[in-house]
């Protein structure tokens, strides 16, 4: 966004402050839909694509999640059985690997960093995450650039970051997320009447006052701090944009409705509790996308060192993956595997929720691209190969679905690179050192 563009928008808004007549000089957003709600009325363009990530910690058991066959018409394996109803809309990607280039592996951290930032950091993250890159491409015209949630109670467990220094903190409470998206500041696109709120106009104007100081303040500080201050001003700009949207009459959206308002729920790591909250989060996020409040969402079902636990048990999912003995007969750790089953059921619920929102002939799932992944191929040994990854949803027809892609030790970054290319991010290659790739996954590209 250029400084000049900002200034002209501001001038318009500042002008609004004086006069009583509300004539908005702002460009209208491209969200007028046709009658049946499948496309923009004005342009006939399809509904916008939605991108999401869905992360869980501690992986799955090797050999028990990958489909037995490669290519189309595969069947889900035992641990992913819950996803079977959606198999034609899911690409399973197995065999992807993280290369360390001699750097140390930080257990449960390196894998997620490689997948989402294309980099193995020595200490703290060095780059923006995949969803931020995508959001800059597809999410700049919505009220929220992206929405983040985590199921296990720590706002810092978000994996979404705008830069090395800016983490997008996650909502931990469904009730708080509801209020943020569908609370008093929500403008129902299907409401009959619309009147710009003068209180929002004055707030908008005050923020312009903050933004006006940007150049002067940036000049005062050193280069590292300049980056951080600029990130601050980007955040201010995002709120300005939200307020701008609230000052315009939104275009009607047939599939948009507010979800049920959740009660204040207990937040914790006990599995039934996490699953129940995840259901509430799923509803709110799906409705937020249907109402065009955001095009990007990030779900952390449970953080990487999976703290999920059963009530009364001293052992968390993570501890179990390391300390529970292998059952000789079964060939896996039954208690740890219990959590994997619950996680896959929740992922299936998430897809079901997206699919339950009908938009014309299709569903929200059809125009969503969801990257579901963990951070390790085998938590017991912190393996960084064969990390479970799924790309679900039709991405508005931008990719083929229903395939099992079996990689043979190729960099995990190919998945993120494929996503960026499919979603129109102008990028020629992505990732650092051995994780750098310029090869999208050809099988699923159209």
């Amino acid at each position: 966004m250029s400084a000049i563009a900002n200034a002209s928008r501001r001038t318009v808004l500042r002008g609004m402050m004086g006069g009583a007549a509300v004539t908005l000089g702002l460009p209208l957003l491209d969200c007028f839909l046709n009658a049946n709600g499948t496309a923009m009325a004005a342009t006939g363009a399809p509904l916008p694509v939605v991108f999401g990530t869905w992360f869980w910690g501690c992986g799955l058991n090797p050999g028990r999640w990958e489909p037995k066959t490669v290519g189309a018409n595969y069947d889900m394996n035992i641990e992913t059985a819950a996803l079977q109803p959606y198999k034609s809309r899911i690409n399973v990607i197995s065999g992807m690997k993280v290369f360390l280039d001699g750097k140390g592996a930080k257990p449960h951290f390196t894998g997620e960093m490689a997948i989402l930032t294309g980099d193995v950091p020595r200490e703290t993250p060095n780059y923006a995450s995949l969803d931020s890159i995508v959001a800059d491409q597809i999410g700049t015209k919505t009220r929220f650039r992206s929405l983040e949630i985590t199921g296990t109670g720590k706002p810092t467990d978000s994996l979404s970051r705008r830069s090395a220094s800016v983490l997008n903190p996650a909502e931990i409470s469904p009730a708080a997320l509801y209020t943020r998206v569908f609370g008093p500041d929500f403008r129902d696109p299907n409401a009959a009447d619309f009147k710009p709120d003068p209180r929002i106009m004055v707030r908008r104007s005050v923020l312009s006052g903050v933004t006006d100081q940007r150049e002067a303040l940036l000049r005062q500080v050193g280069s590292n701090d300049r980056v951080r201050l600029d990130e601050y001003f980007t955040a201010v700009r995002q709120l300005e944009q939200q307020l701008d949207l609230q000052l315009q009459k939104p275009a009607p959206l047939a599939a948009c409705s507010s979800p049920a308002q959740p009660a204040d729920a207990e937040i914790g790591t006990e599995i039934d509790n996490v699953v129940a909250n995840h259901k509430l989060f799923a509803q709110i996020l799906a409705h937020a996308a249907a109402c065009d409040q955001t095009h990007v969402f990030n779900v952390v079902f449970g953080e990487a060192t999976s703290p999920l636990r059963r009530a009364g048990s001293a052992m968390t999912h993570h501890i179990l993956t390391h300390e529970e003995p292998m059952d000789d007969k079964l060939g896996y750790q039954p208690q740890a595997t219990y959590f994997m089953g619950r996680i896959m059921e929740s992922l299936a619920f998430y897809l079901q929720t997206l699919d339950s929102i009908k938009e014309g002939d299709g569903t929200l799932l059809d125009r969503t691209m969801l990257l579901a992944h963990s951070e390790t191929g085998f938590a017991k040994i912190h393996a960084l190969e064969n990390i479970p990854m799924f790309i679900a949803g039709g991405a508005g027809g931008r990719i083929k679905t229903g395939l099992h892609v079996e990689a043979t030790g190729e960099p995990v970054t190919r998945v993120g690179f494929t996503i960026q290319q499919a979603l129109g991010v102008p990028v020629e290659n992505w990732g650092t050192q051995s994780l750098n790739t310029s090869k999208p996954i050809g099988e699923i590209m159209i």
């Binding site: 790591t269 048990s313 390391h322």
Partner: protein
């Protein structure tokens, strides 16, 4: 020897041993300083400033962006933080919540120094009176003319639009509360007239650093006045302000803030214990546990001006009824806190054996000697324990053919018998095992799964038989006070100590030792030193001792998939 090789010492520890025999000079060694910083206010700082400026009846609604911990401190992490879109939304909500209260009918008479000519319209002169006064405190310096005129205009335009002077004023104040001038502590350097070619913080940055260091809040009017009059540039003027601030009861708030940061108490926000295993542990217990530790520390270090090293061994603490029920100590007071002294050789001596440390560094359902050992090394000794290698075969830790591992000590045997694990676990586990008499919630026990718990061991060459011997050994570790001096300085400066400051820190540590390890005196020395306000100049910038580099040198090869 493998042990010391595996630990990455933070800068200065080794140097101290070398310099130990040298005679102390009268004056502290010169330093070249470090870069100025731009720090985001922490949540406690934000709350304290609002309370200082507008009073404690103003509620601060909403939640805050999470802080980053770096080099062991949030105070250092804040110099890396910015604001995300979602975070700014929250700041905006909080700011409007505060501003609305400030102008409401309950508060406006005491907080706004004038009445508007007309309550339904703009009054620029009254708005200017209020905004310039609030602005000086919020921005920690006088507002510039441009800043003030923008805010006054915002207040007026909003008042006209909304037909309400106070609503307009509130809107403008909310804008100030989300401005970078308020949310970030921006330090400004100037040429130092006393040292050719060198730089120092300017007067307001000096006041700000001083105030957050000693009081964990923005400068008060007296300190801002001193900065404005140039008094902080003279040794005597600076000394006068530092003495005033150290003598103030607010020093305790500063000491508490420092220890909350150093001890990682922010971790309690997301700490939970399994209620079926530890039915007594809840959020009230975790809040009280922190309070107990902070009371123990301020009583020992501030009220009694005691020896820092005694934090590990002191038998004096404070208890309330709730904690008493967990410690198994009768508490007479129905409400509030009362002093308590444990008998000699009781395993509960010192802050390591309090619920706060024990529960924070444990799993939800059981204790963790590894986590506790790592925490002790990193928090109190400034030693960085390397990350575990990738592709560890945990089968060795969990010998499935040998299910009789009753105690953590027996379970962790594999850690120190397996080469790739031993290097690091040998420096964590034995330390943590000394605290095994306490479960994940801090409760006392002598057995685990019916097997007796053994707490004897060795730390950095000192052997001990039990928990009380262990805390005496920690008390005497030379790394502990040096780590403390380093942390305290780094906390105040908002950055890790620079390379060129090592000699100065070693000097301060010797002073600390020779004056009985008294913490307020150490704070006074730092706050009145030239080094604390010295700013490095580009080109001569010494940089910081890079723990990451030295860590890379000691890390275990971790290539996976081989």
């Amino acid at each position: 020897m493998a042990m010391t090789r595996r630990i990455t010492k933070i800068f200065g520890v080794t140097a101290l041993l070398v310099l130990g025999g040298c005679g102390a000079k009268d004056d502290a060694p010169a330093t070249k300083g470090g870069p100025v910083s731009l720090r985001r206010l922490t949540e406690p700082e934000y709350r304290q400033i609002v309370a200082d400026v507008f009073g404690t009846t103003i509620k601060v609604p909403g939640r805050f962006e999470p802080d980053i911990r770096e080099n062991g401190l949030i105070a250092v992490g804040t110099a890396r933080e910015s604001v995300a879109g979602a975070g700014f939304e929250q700041y905006d909500l909080t700011a409007r919540g505060i501003a609305d209260q400030v102008v409401d009918e309950t508060h406006r008479t005491s907080l706004i120094p004038c009445k508007p000519a007309l309550a339904s319209a703009r009054d620029d002169s009254c708005a200017a009176q209020f905004l310039s006064r609030a602005g000086r405190l919020l921005y920690r310096r006088p507002m510039t003319e441009g800043e003030l005129s923008t805010q006054v205009k915002d207040a007026g335009d909003s008042a006209d639009k909304l037909g309400d002077f106070y609503a307009g004023l509130s809107n403008s104040l909310a804008g100030m509360l989300v401005s970078p001038q308020f949310l970030f502590r921006e330090e400004v350097a100037e040429a130092d007239p006393d040292a050719v070619g060198q730089k120092r913080l300017d007067a307001y940055s000096k006041a700000e650093r001083l105030s957050f260091f000693l009081w964990d809040s923005a400068p008060d009017t007296a300190l801002l006045d001193a900065a404005q009059k140039g008094e902080l540039e003279s040794d005597s003027g600076l000394r006068r302000q530092v003495d005033r601030m150290i003598a103030s009861p607010r020093l305790s708030a500063g000491v508490r803030a420092f220890f909350s940061d150093m001890l990682g108490f922010d971790g309690f926000a997301a700490l939970a214990k399994d209620p079926q295993i530890y039915p007594k542990y809840n959020s009230e217990v975790s809040a009280d546990a922190q309070e107990q530790t902070l009371r123990t520390l301020t009583d020992l270090l501030v009220t009694h001006d005691g020896d820092y090293r005694d934090i590990f061994t002191t038998r004096k603490t404070f208890l309330n009824r709730l904690l008493g029920s967990i410690y198994g100590v009768p508490v007479a007071a129905r409400t509030g806190w009362e002093p308590h002294e444990y008998p000699p050789n009781d395993p509960r001596a010192g802050i390591l054996m309090q619920i706060s440390f024990l529960s924070l560094h444990s799993h939800p359902g059981r204790s963790s000697p590894t986590i506790r050992g790592k925490a002790l090394r990193e928090i109190f000794l400034c030693q960085k324990v390397p990350d575990p290698p990738g592709n560890v075969n945990f089968n060795l830790v969990n010998d499935t053919k040998n299910p009789a591992f009753h105690t953590a000590r027996s379970r962790l045997t594999a850690h120190i018998t397996q080469d790739s694990c031993a290097g690091c676990h040998r420096i964590m586990d034995p330390v943590g095992l000394a605290m095994e008499n306490f479960d994940s919630a801090g409760g006392f026990r002598t057995t685990e799964n019916d097997a007796p718990i053994i707490t004897s061991g060795e730390i950095d060459g000192a052997t001990f038989d039990d928990a009380s011997g262990f805390v005496r050994a920690v008390h005497d570790l030379p790394a502990a006070p040096l780590c403390f001096v380093n942390r305290l300085y780094s906390y105040g400066a908002g950055r890790p100590a620079a390379k060129g400051e090592a000699e100065w820190l070693n000097f301060q540590e010797k002073q600390f030792a020779s004056t009985g390890y008294k913490v307020p005196e150490l704070m006074r020395r730092i706050a009145t030193s030239k080094a604390f306000y010295r700013v490095s100049t580009p080109g001569t910038e010494a940089g910081q001792p890079n723990t990451k580099l030295s860590l890379a040198g000691t890390a275990i090869p971790t290539e996976t998939g081989k």
